[in-house]
């Protein structure tokens, strides 16, 4: 119950910060543009899409139309994740450092709660706030495509959960850095460094990093690092595959969640052992 209270308070805190509202504003503008820009024309051969009143696609039948919608939806999921990777980290990185800074930790940790419950409540709140942003945009896309094109792809409704899982696996590193350093700036910079440098490098290590040193031990070290860090890119691929109806690699989902869970557990352990 107290964990939920902390989660609600965190959502409120994040809503009051302008960052997530800016993201919601950008999402609204994009949704309005898509709503206004996408038109359809029904012909005997199928449905043609008219984009911005000028470009007209060849007529598509039901199967092609569904494939088009799925690709569009996958692109939308990728787009909102890019937005969340930037705005989301920026908005939520301070959640843990703000809780454990001098003066705040004294009050939170002197209450009848375990430190792990506080970590859980704050992380849950951040996750739900991000989920609501993702939900707003992706359900908006789903409704617009359903109304305009007539394809109601129910499978896509799982996408907000998938994108939130990607965020939470990335956020594990941010939470860990926040718990370790007690510093929002380090958590933000570390989060960006992880998402935009470490993840792509490790994802493409065979092409980019292997050639730097022709040594088996070095390659094993890189492979180990890949599995120690949450495999955000692999999870992104899995979610995209799911949305587009391709085979989903559940193994990468499991190993990413396991790794992210490990980083959350490490943050918990650090908080539990720390003196405030």
């Amino acid at each position: 119950m107290k964990t939920l209270l902390l989660a609600l308070q965190t959502i409120r805190e994040l809503v009051l910060k302008a960052t997530l509202l800016v993201l919601a504003g950008i999402s609204t503008i994009i949704l309005l543009l898509i709503f206004a820009g996408v038109q359809t024309e029904k012909t005997a051969d199928g449905v043609s899409l008219v984009l911005s009143g000028q470009q007209k696609s060849p007529p598509m039948n039901g199967e092609n139309l569904q494939a088009f919608v799925r690709v569009f939806e996958a692109g939308s999921a990728g787009g909102i994740f890019a937005g969340i990777a930037i705005f989301g980290i920026f908005a939520t990185a301070s959640v843990i450092p703000d809780t454990i800074e001098k003066g705040a930790a004294d009050i939170y940790f002197s209450k009848p709660l375990r430190r792990g419950e506080i970590l859980l409540g704050r992380t849950l709140g951040a996750g739900v706030a991000i989920f609501l942003n993702i939900l707003y945009f992706l359900v908006g896309i789903w409704v617009i495509l359903g109304v305009k094109i007539g394809v109601w792809d129910v499978r896509f409704l799982m996408a907000p959960v998938g994108v939130t899982l990607i965020f939470l696996s990335m956020y594990a590193i941010v939470v860990f850095l926040g718990a370790l350093s007690h510093n929002s700036a380090i958590a933000i910079i570390g989060g960006f460094l992880f998402q935009f440098v470490i993840v792509p490098l490790l994802q493409h290590r065979e092409m980019v990093l292997y050639p730097l040193l022709n040594n088996g031990g070095y390659h094993t070290f890189l492979d180990t690092l890949y599995y120690i860090f949450p495999q955000v890119s692999a999870l992104q691929d899995s979610v995209t595959n799911y949305i587009t109806g391709q085979a989903t690699e559940w193994g990468s989902l499991a190993s990413t969640l396991l790794s992210a869970g490990g980083w959350y557990a490490a943050a918990w352990w650090i908080l539990d052992r720390a003196d405030f």
Binding site: K2, L5, L6, Q9, R12, E13, L16, D98, E101, K102, G103, A104, A105, D106, I107, Y108, F109, S110, K111, P112, L113, R114, R273, D275, F276
Partner: protein, 312 residues
């Protein structure tokens, strides 16, 4: 009378770090006991270990060794914190909350039932003089206003045991008096208060018992009277001025006697010394109007203890 706080051989050594080559011993085998219903003053210079003790008792800091219990519960114990209130030295509340919301949020985190919380929020805002600023965001509060709302926050769950770390810091003299009155009222309600303060004159006014610590060790513990009644100086009220022959004879008899506004002071470690001084005054036909022991203030006693601690 049962025990509210029991501390036994508590030691805390902060570990070595990159910037701290040696560990720092904040507490060194400290033992003390606080009875329920008392206002207990915990005094010491900066770095004496005062805040460390409070933080260990509230499980903010892990002890290196030793035992502690609050309200009969061995620490660490999460549940006992439902009965505890804490005003830290530098509290930081979420700036987007109003004073009223601070009380409600932290009251709920403390496990206070909603009905009680509603009632206590209003009562406490009035009690600490913050009723008219209840809807203002705390980020706009002054230091004194933050202290007041912090005190209300420490009391919101109707705690049995209250830890106050420098509660009057940043509060004006009228506010200090109001806080002292609140502490007295809490004592009447049977609450136990553990008070860290640098303002010794205030501690003297409110505390039943006092402990003085330095470098993590207990120097002395006792009632206020134990600290202030140790003076060996007596102030003797006399009429007129003291004749010079009297002063000369006092010097000759090695009686420590010196003029004082409206009389004379006699330093008399023993009662016999005081009587010798009075006999001398009477022999010279000096009219005595009063005799009283010059009480040491808590501050004098505190400084004296620390001086003796420093002396080889």
């Amino acid at each position: 009378m049962s025990t509210a706080i029991a501390v036994s051989h508590l030691t805390k050594v902060y570990r070595k770090s990159l910037f701290r080559k040696n560990g720092v011993a904040a507490l060194q085998g400290l033992s003390l006991s606080v009875d329920r219903g008392q206002i207990y003053g915990f005094l010491g210079p900066n770095g004496a270990g005062k805040t460390t003790l409070i933080k260990i008792l509230l499980s903010l800091v892990h002890p290196t060794s030793g035992d502690a219990a609050l309200l009969g519960q061995e620490l660490p114990d999460t549940a006992v914190r439902e009965k505890i209130g804490y005003l830290p030295e530098n509290q930081r509340f979420p700036g987007y909350l109003t004073g009223e919301q601070v009380l409600k949020f932290f009251g709920r985190l403390s496990g206070t039932p909603p009905d009680l919380l509603r009632r206590r929020t209003s009562e406490l805002l009035t009690l600490v003089g913050m009723d008219q600023w209840r809807k203002m965001k705390v980020k706009r509060y002054s230091k004194g206003m933050l202290q007041r709302i912090g005190l209300a926050q420490a009391l919101v769950n109707d705690p049995e045991l209250i830890f106050l770390d420098e509660p009057t810091d940043g509060v004006d003299p009228i506010g200090r008096k109001e806080i002292r009155d609140i502490l007295h009222a809490l004592k009447v309600q049977g609450k136990t208060i553990f008070l860290n303060s640098h303002l010794l004159s205030e501690v003297e006014l409110v505390c039943d018992r006092v402990a003085i610590v330095n470098k993590g060790s207990l120097l002395k513990e006792g009632t206020i009277a134990d600290f202030t009644s140790g003076s060996t100086t007596y102030i003797v009220g006399v009429e007129g001025t003291l004749p010079q022959p009297l002063m000369d004879e006092a010097r000759a008899l090695v009686i420590s006697l010196s003029p004082h506004p409206g009389g004379v002071t006699i330093n008399a470690p023993k009662t016999a010394d005081l009587n010798r001084g009075i006999d001398l005054l009477r022999r010279h036909n000096v009219t005595i109007t009063s005799i009283q022991r010059d009480k040491a203030t808590l501050e004098e006693s505190f400084l004296d203890l620390l001086k003796r601690e420093v002396a080889p």
